[in-house]
C-alpha cells in the first residue's frame, strides 16, 4: 500500500466518523428541540389555565356581587343561596390563582394587592347578606350605600385586568417562542436529513469504491495466480530441459570419449604385438652377436616398452570404466521412472539372497527388520539398496563378525530406511565426499571406482528423496534414506 493510499483511507475514515458524529449531534439537537417545544407547550397551557382561573375568579366575584345586590333589593332566599355558593367558592378560586401563578412574582404581587380588597369585599358582602337575612334590609342597604364597594370592585377589576393582561402578554411571548421552536425543529430536521443523505451517499460511494477496488485486486490476484502457475510451468520445463541437456551432454561426451579410447587400446595392442618380433630379435642378437646389442636397446624392448604399454592399458581400462559409469548415470537419469507398489521386505530379501554367497563367505549376518512398503520405482530402489548393502559387506572391520541391519519406519508421508553395519566406518569429514562421483574414503583396499554412492544419491534425488550418512571411524556406518511414500509418475518430457 502506498502512502497516498494510506492517506486516502485515513481521509475516508475521518469523513465517515465526522459524518456519523454530526448525525449523532443532529439527533441530540432534535431531541433537545422537541423537549424544549414540549416545555413551551406546557408553558402556553399553563398560561391558558391561569387565564381561565382569572376569568373564573372574576365571574365568581361579579356573580357574588350581583347576587348580593339582588338579595339587597329582594330578600329572596334563592339570591341568598347563589350568593352563599359563589362567596364560598371565591377563596378557593383565589387560592387556585395563587397556586397557578406561584412561578410569577409580579402576579403574586398583584394577588397580594388583591387579597385585602377581596377579603374586604367578601366581609362587606357577608355583612350585608347577614343583615338582610336577619330582616334588617334597610340597615343593609344603608351599609351598602356607604361602603366603598364600587371602588373596591373597581380596584379588583383593575388588578384582575392587569393579571389578565400580563398573562396575555405571556401567552403571546410563549406562543411566539413555541412557533420559533417548531421552526427551529423543522430546520434541524431538514439539516439532519441533508446530513443523513450526505453520510449515506458518502458511505455508499466509499463502499462502491472499495468493492470496485476489491474486485480489481481479486482479478489481479487471479491473473497473478494464473501467471504464477504458468511461470512455475515454464521453470519446470526449463529445468527439465536443462536436465535433459546435461543428460545428453553426459551421454555424448562419454560416447565421444570412447572413440579415441578404442584407438589408444587398439594401437597399444598393436605396439605390444610389434614388441614381440623385436623381443625375438633382441634375444637372437643377444645369443648370436651380443656386441651389437646395447643395454638401452635391450632395456627398451624388454622393460620400457612392455611397461609403458601396461600403464597405457591399465589407464585406458580405468578410463573406460569411468566413462561407463558416467554413461550409466546418464542412462539412469534418462530412464522413465515407473512407480509401482513395492513389497520392501521382499525386495530387500531378494538383494540379501543375491549377496548370500558373499555374506556367507565373510561370515556376516544380514538382519531385515520390518520395513514400510512404498510406491516407487522398483529398479531404482533395488539399485539403491543393493549398493548400500553391498557397501556394508565390502567395508567390514577385519576380525569383527559383520552385522548388517536393514530397518525402516514411516515418518509422516515419507518412508525412512536405514542400512546399518558395524564395519570400519567413515571419517566424518568424508561424509559429503563419499557421495561425489569417483570419490572414495578410507583405505583403498577394495575394488571400485567411487561410483556406487554417487549413483545411489542421484537415484535417491530422482525418487524425490535424500540420503545421508552417520558414522565414526571404527564405529560402523548408518546410511539413512528418506523417500516419499508415494512417488508420483513423471510427466513425459515435452
Amino acid at each position: 500500500m502506498t502512502i497516498t493510499d494510506r492517506l486516502f483511507n485515513r481521509l475516508v475514515l475521518g469523513a465517515v466518523v465526522i459524518g456519523f458524529l454530526s448525525l449523532l449531534a443532529a439527533g441530540g439537537l432534535i431531541a433537545w428541540s422537541i423537549q424544549r417545544n414540549q416545555d413551551y407547550n406546557l408553558a402556553v397551557d399553563h398560561t391558558y389555565q391561569v387565564r381561565t382561573a382569572v376569568y373564573q375568579y372574576r365571574v365568581l366575584a361579579e356573580r357574588a356581587e350581583a347576587a348580593r345586590r339582588g338579595y339587597l333589593l329582594k330578600p329572596d332566599d334563592r339570591y341568598r343561596q347563589v350568593f352563599a355558593e359563589t362567596a364560598d367558592a371565591l377563596p378557593r378560586a383565589f387560592d387556585q390563582l395563587v397556586d397557578l401563578t406561584r412561578d410569577n412574582p409580579r402576579q403574586q404581587e398583584r394577588l397580594d394587592d388583591l387579597r385585602p380588597l377581596a377579603a374586604m369585599q367578601s366581609a362587606l358582602m357577608r355583612q350585608s347578606a347577614g343583615l338582610v337575612q336577619r330582616g334588617r334590609q334597610i340597615a343593609a342597604v344603608g351599609v351598602f350605600r356607604n361602603d366603598n364597594n364600587l371602588e373596591t370592585m373597581q380596584s379588583m377589576r383593575t388588578i384582575l385586568s392587569q393579571i389578565s393582561a400580563e398573562e396575555d402578554q405571556l401567552l403571546k411571548d410563549r406562543t411566539a417562542r413555541q412557533e420559533r421552536g417548531v421552526a427551529f425543529l423543522k430546520w434541524s430536521l431538514g439539516l439532519t436529513m441533508l446530513l443523513l443523505l450526505a453520510v449515506a451517499g458518502g458511505s455508499v460511494f466509499v463502499i462502491f469504491q472499495y468493492t470496485r477496488d476489491l474486485n480489481r485486486s481479486r482479478r489481479d490476484l487471479f491473473k497473478l495466480n494464473a501467471s504464477l502457475e504458468s511461470a512455475v510451468e515454464d521453470r519446470t520445463v526449463d529445468l527439465r530441459r536443462a536436465n535433459d541437456e546435461i543428460q545428453r551432454f553426459a551421454y555424448i561426451v562419454s560416447h565421444d570419449l570412447r572413440s579415441p579410447l578404442v584407438n589408444i587400446m587398439g594401437f597399444t595392442s598393436e605396439l605390444e604385438a610389434a614388441t614381440k618380433p623385436l623381443e625375438e630379435l633382441v634375444t637372437r642378437i643377444e645369443a648370436e652377436t651380443p656386441d651389437l646389442l646395447t643395454d638401452e636397446a635391450r632395456d627398451a624392448v624388454r622393460t620400457d616398452l612392455p611397461e609403458a604399454a601396461g600403464f597405457i592399458r591399465a589407464s585406458t581400462q580405468k578410463m573406460d570404466r569411468l566413462i561407463n559409469a558416467i554413461l550409466r548415470l546418464s542412462r539412469d537419469g534418462r530412464r522413465v521412472l515407473a512407480p509401482e507398489p513395492l513389497n520392501m521386505h521382499g525386495l530387500v530379501a531378494g538383494i540379501a539372497a543375491s549377496l548370500r554367497h558373499r555374506t556367507d563367505e565373510i561370515g556376516a549376518t544380514l538382519t531385515i527388520e520390518p520395513l514400510p512398503d512404498l510406491v516407487s520405482d522398483r529398479v531404482a530402489m533395488e539399485q539403491i539398496l543393493s549398493n548400500l548393502i553391498e557397501n556394508a559387506t565390502k567395508y567390514l572391520k577385519p576380525g569383527r563378525p559383520g552385522e548388517i541391519t536393514v530397518r525402516g519406519r514411516m515418518d509422516g508421508i515419507r518412508a525412512l530406511y536405514e542400512v546399518q553395519d558395524n564395519g570400519r566406518g567413515i571419517d566424518p569429514k568424508d561424509h559429503d565426499r563419499i557421495f561425489d562421483l569417483f570419490r572414495r574414503s578410507g583405505v583403498q583396499d577394495q575394488p571400485g571406482e567411487g561410483i556406487g554412492l554417487a549413483h545411489v544419491r542421484a537415484l535417491a534425488y530422482r525418487l524425490g528423496g535424500v540420503i545421508s550418512c552417520e558414522s565414526e571411524l571404527d564405529q560402523g556406518a548408518t546410511f539413512r534414506l528418506s523417500l516419499p511414500a508415494v512417488l508420483l509418475p513423471e510427466r513425459a518430457a515435452e
Binding site: 560416447h255 572413440s259 587400446m265 587398439g266 595392442s269 581400462q317
Partner: protein, 147 residues
Amino acid sequence: MTHPVTIVMIEDDEGHARLIEKNIRRAGINNEIRHFLDGTSALEFLESAHDGPSLNGPALILLDLNLPDMSGTDILSRIKGKEGPLKRTPVVVLTTTDDKVEIQRCYDLGCNVYITKPVNYEAFAQAIRQLGLFLSVIQVPDIDGAA
C-alpha cells in the same frame, strides 16, 4: 560374374579405420576397401560413382554412426530408402553406440548387422575378425544379375 565385392568403409576416425582394416586383413579378407571419412563423399560414391555399388559391382558397407557432417542413420535411410541395387547392398553398422534405442532404429531403417565396437581391443579385434569370416561367407546380390 566375378566382380569382387568392394568393402565401403564410412568411418571418420582414421585410427578406427586403420584398426578395422588391419583386422579384416588378418581374417584373410583381401577385398578392396574404400574408405570415406565423411558422409557426403561416401554418399556421392555410393549413389553416383561409376564404380560404386549403384552402377557397378556388388559392395558391402561398413558404417559408423558418428560422422562429422551427418548422422550415420541419415546415410542408412538414404541407402535403404530408395528402390534399386543400392538398397540391396548389405550394411553393417559398426559403431561405439550401444544404446538400445539407436540399435533398434538402425534395424528399423534396414541395417543388416549392428556391431558395437568394444573398447577392449582384444574383443574389438575378435569382433572384426569374426566380421571378416562373416564377410567371406555371405552372398552379396549380383548387380548385373539383378539388373
